[in-house]
Amino acid sequence: MRLSFIMATAATAALITGSATADVKFGALYPFSGQLALLGEESARGVEIAVEEVNANGGVQGEDVTLVRGDAVDNNQAIGEARRLIAREGVKAIMGTYSSSRSIAASQVAELSGVPYFELGAVADEVTGRELQYLYRTNPTAEDMGRMSVQMIVDEIAPALDKDPSEVRVGIIHEDSSYGTSVAGHQERFGEEAGLQIATVQGYPASTVDMSSLVLDLQGRDVDVVMQTSYQNDSVLFLQQANESGFKPAAIIGGGGGYSMLPTAEAVGTDVIEGVLDVDFTQYTVDPAYAPGMEDFVETYREKYGEEPRSGHSLNNYVGAMAIFAAIDGAESFEPDAIVEAVEQIDIPEGETAAGYGIQFGENNQNERAKMMGMQWQDGKLVTVYPAEAATSEMKIGQ
């Protein structure tokens, strides 16, 4: 069993902020250790690339940006690190956080201290649903994910099956942490609104080692479409066990995490994952014309880290950070209210960011233009298939 540490880091930041010419500091609060470290780190890389790019272009309000890292390994630590960034480092704003629960905990601290908090990656609804004044979120949410997966069924899958949406039977399964539960909740709600037949909604622990009973249950319910929101281990397990039980629904729509990653495809085999759909943050297979700057980002990433981006998290964090920095550059000062005022003015239309979606903050300070992308595994590769303007390939259903 892994004993995650409870306490806050003191020195991490000191190591990173070594350069003494720090002009203006921003915090990067992500889980850099513990279970979520892999994608926490991946997300932070997006912000790091954004900072480099901003500094290369003259900084923000003429000052160089220094990024101070904070390690949000658990909720208590997220609070401690937020405090440290604010009180000790004097950051002008915090960016984060990948994990929704860490984001919720840390942003309360920032709110009470009156420091702007920009969420670039956490998807839970609760992040923005709290009437916080200084919290803004650029990335699409669990709600967008649920909406997108249902739209794909209504717009593409049902017609391909020659069925009315009301005839499509849907099974929703999800890992039972906050992430899976909230996405599944939205899938159920949007599904009901669209008139789909929701056959079952079932949670399971992500660490499970056997999903055969769940597969049999879905099989028994005769579902056409399975929507699964999952991490990597359970994505692999479900796809393998479904295949081995001869369960072949007309479509499987995965949600994020495991479904977007190449090791998943390698684990289950490209023939098994062929045709499986995936709703997630914008990945690198999106149409470059729809996401200008994406290819440059990938190139910078390769140069800086010597490897391919491991997931779309870095790209989405990069896009959010770039927009925020651009807005702050135009603000009158680094005072919280000036920053907030500038950020409120952001108005980037769709198709003009490296992730495709536009940015404008609406109700609850959520980016109203944020969008998930629909993807599909075709010939061993993940390609973008939905919406049409971002697509590089056709969606293939029932083949």
């Binding site: 069993m1 892994r2 004993l3 995650s4 540490f5 409870i6 306490m7 806050a8 880091t9 003191a10 020195a11 991490t12 000191a14 190591l15 990173i16 850099f32 250790s33 470290a37 892999l38 780190e41 890292r69 390690d71 390994v73 658990d74 909720n75 208590n76 609070i79 401690g80 405090r83 440290r84 604010i86 009180a87 000790r88 629960s101 919720i104 905990a105 309360q108 709110e111 009470l112 201290s113 839970a124 609804d125 609760e126 709290r130 039972d176 942490s177 906050s178 992430y179 899976g180 539960t181 909230s182 949670g203």
Partner: protein, 600 residues
């Protein structure tokens, strides 16, 4: 288990060390509060608040895990209950100051329900059971979304002020956290230094001996669990307000449960101050490990942490308090040279003993162990002021009879009735009831409370009569002197010789001032002089009006002592009566020496 107990001092050197220790602890506590206030940095505040929270949780855990020796790895259940109760009530507009007590009440109920069936389990089994309960609680918290918000958790509205325990500045939060730590330490200290603490540790060390000394072992442990759960829940409520956001996976967390126990372990399990020291030391160390190593590579600091944990366990198995105690005892001066008061301080008179009316009636006892008939229709009566010898060859079932006479075993048939101080006859059902009616017993295999001093061992018996520590201590000392244990009062029970342990066993029972005394081979394995002393001792005890049943193999002693003997063979009484006559009974000789001798 080390118990660096805070006993009242006997020598000036001890007083000095004791005072020095208290001053040091006072300084640690003061530093906990003053440091962040002086530095005034929010992050430092956070660290110290965290230290206070974990030290408080660990101190609360220690009441169960340390004093009672029940290794709970599910303590996050109570912490989580407190947190959820607090947040749910805040969302209904009720202040966490009230929610705190509501949470504590629910936690107490949960603690009693969870623990009661588990007390039969010892060591690792109890730990596994608590883990299983924790998992069940976590899954249920995920499942019942209407109440708990499910996996997405619950938040509190950011209402600022003392009433809501949410503050913009950090000082008030530190005050609350520090106050909670003080409360936990105070409760832990109060329990440890009072009768309850003695009972808990006696129960932990030797459950059956504790029961024989009249300790309601289940009751005291339930009480300990309830107190511990209530404190944990209250800390949980505050921590939830501090976090402003709770979810099942971080509240009902096994890792948290283990961490809490670990602080106590590293500080010194079962000691009042150990958990505090553990948290004070470990929190900054983990800080440093994470800070220095966390950025290097994923997993490096976790690896180092695990290795350090193993090393600590290997080289500091008794925790920081153990190291401190060793350091202190290294400088220990020679204990006061009090003359060894010889036993039998009460001069023997040659007046013939006054044998009175029956005080204990044994009627038709039957007991089977599986197919073995170990006790068959055993009946006899013990009179007031009488010494009854219970003899018989090995395996005759003497100890089994004792166990039935003291409530440790239930006879299949038959009854044991005891004349109470009220003049009525009672049929007690368990060791506690027997003890309450004035029956005390010793064990064939001595059962000292290893972690206690000789004085504390005897005090456990004395607590049967006294509630206050000072009274019990006085009674214990008096008994100890009478039993010739006076000079060993402050020694650990383990350091005594076999003879000393046997005397300690008797002293503990004597401190209960029993009216009926069951002695199980108190003379076995001790030397001749000691046997003679023991005989004198028993006679002097009898002269105070106590009735005695003694199992004994030392024939010389039996003959000298007993007014009457009962001979048991293969679970049956084969003879009883005057000692001199009984030993000439051919049945008895046969039973002891075989048929040939009887015929000879």
């Amino acid at each position: 288990m080390t118990d660096t107990t805070l006993k009242s001092a006997v020598t000036p050197a001890r007083i000095g060390r004791h005072r020095l220790g208290l001053i040091a602890l006072g300084l640690v506590l003061a530093a906990l509060f003053v440091t962040p206030v002086v530095i005034g940095d929010e992050f430092v505040y956070h660290i110290f608040i965290t230290i206070c929270i974990f030290a408080a949780l660990s101190t609360a855990w220690n009441i169960v895990g340390g004093y009672a020796g029940q290794l709970s790895l599910g303590h996050a259940i109570f912490y989580g209950i407190g947190a959820y109760a607090g947040v749910i009530l805040v969302n209904m507009g009720i202040s966490p100051w009230i929610g705190m007590f509501a949470g504590a009440a629910v936690a107490v109920v949960a603690a009693v329900v969870v623990s009661y069936p588990c007390f039969r389990l010892h060591g690792p089994f109890f730990a596994l059971a608590t883990i299983a309960f924790l998992e069940v609680f976590r899954v249920l918290a995920l499942h019942f979304r209407e109440l708990t918000g499910g996996a997405t958790g619950l938040m509190i509205p950011l209402k600022i002020g003392w009433e809501w325990m949410v503050f913009r500045e950090r000082l008030p939060a530190l005050i609350i956290a520090f106050g909670m730590l003080l409360v936990c330490l105070g409760v832990a200290w109060a329990i440890r230094s009072r009768r309850l603490g003695f009972h808990l540790i006696a129960t932990r060390e030797r459950e059956s001996a504790a029961r024989a000394a009249g300790v309601g072992t289940v009751k005291v442990r339930l009480f300990a669990v309830a107190v511990s759960a209530a404190l944990s829940a209250m800390v949980g409520t505050f921590h939830a307000m501090y976090l402003t956001f709770i979810e099942p996976s971080s509240m009902f967390s096994l890792q948290l449960s283990i961490q809490i126990a670990m602080f106590a372990l590293i500080g010194g399990i079962g000691t009042v101050w150990g958990p505090l020291l553990g948290a004070v030391l470990l929190v900054p160390i983990t800080e440093f490990a994470r800070g220095a190593l966390g950025a290097e590579a994923i997993g490096l600091h976790g690896f180092v942490y695990g290795v350090v944990l193993m090393l600590v366990v290997l080289f500091m198995p008794n925790g920081i308090m153990g190291v401190l105690a060793r350091f202190a005892s290294g400088r220990k001066e020679a204990a006061g040279d009090e003359p060894d008061t010889h036993i039998a301080a009460v001069a023997r008179t040659d007046v013939a003993p006054q044998i009175g009316d029956p005080v204990l009636r044994v009627e038709g006892l039957q007991k089977h162990f599986g197919g073995l008939h170990v006790t068959n229709d055993v009946s006899f009566t013990l009179r007031e002021g009488e010494i009854l010898g219970l003899i018989g060859p090995n395996g005759a079932g003497k100890t089994t009879v004792f166990n039935m006479l003291s409530g440790f075993l239930k006879p299949d048939q038959g009854s044991v009735t005891l004349l109470g101080p009220d003049g009525e006859w009672h049929e007690p059902g368990n060791p506690g009831d027997f003890a309450a009616l004035g029956l005390g017993r010793t064990f064939q295999i001595v059962q000292p409370f290893a972690a206690m001093t000789v004085e504390e061992n005897i005090m456990v018996g004395a607590f049967h009569r006294y509630h206050a520590v000072s009274d019990a201590r006085e009674a214990a000392r008096e008994t100890a002197h009478r039993m010739g244990l006076g000079r060993y009062l402050q020694d650990e029970a383990n350091s005594l010789t076999v003879g000393g342990l046997k005397r300690l066993e008797v002293a503990r029972v004597m401190a209960m001032k029993p009216r009926v005394l069951l002695l199980d081979e108190v003379m076995a394995g001790i030397n001749r002089t000691d046997v003679k002393r023991a005989v004198d001792l028993m006679l002097s005890i009898r002269e105070t009006g106590v009735s005695i049943i003694a199992i004994e193999h030392v024939m010389q002693a039996v003959m000298a002592l007993s007014d009457r003997v009962v001979v048991l063979s293969s679970g049956e009484i084969i003879a009883q009566g005057d000692p001199q006559e009984v030993v000439r009974d051919p049945h008895v000789i046969e039973a002891y020496l075989g048929k040939e001798f009887a015929d000879a």
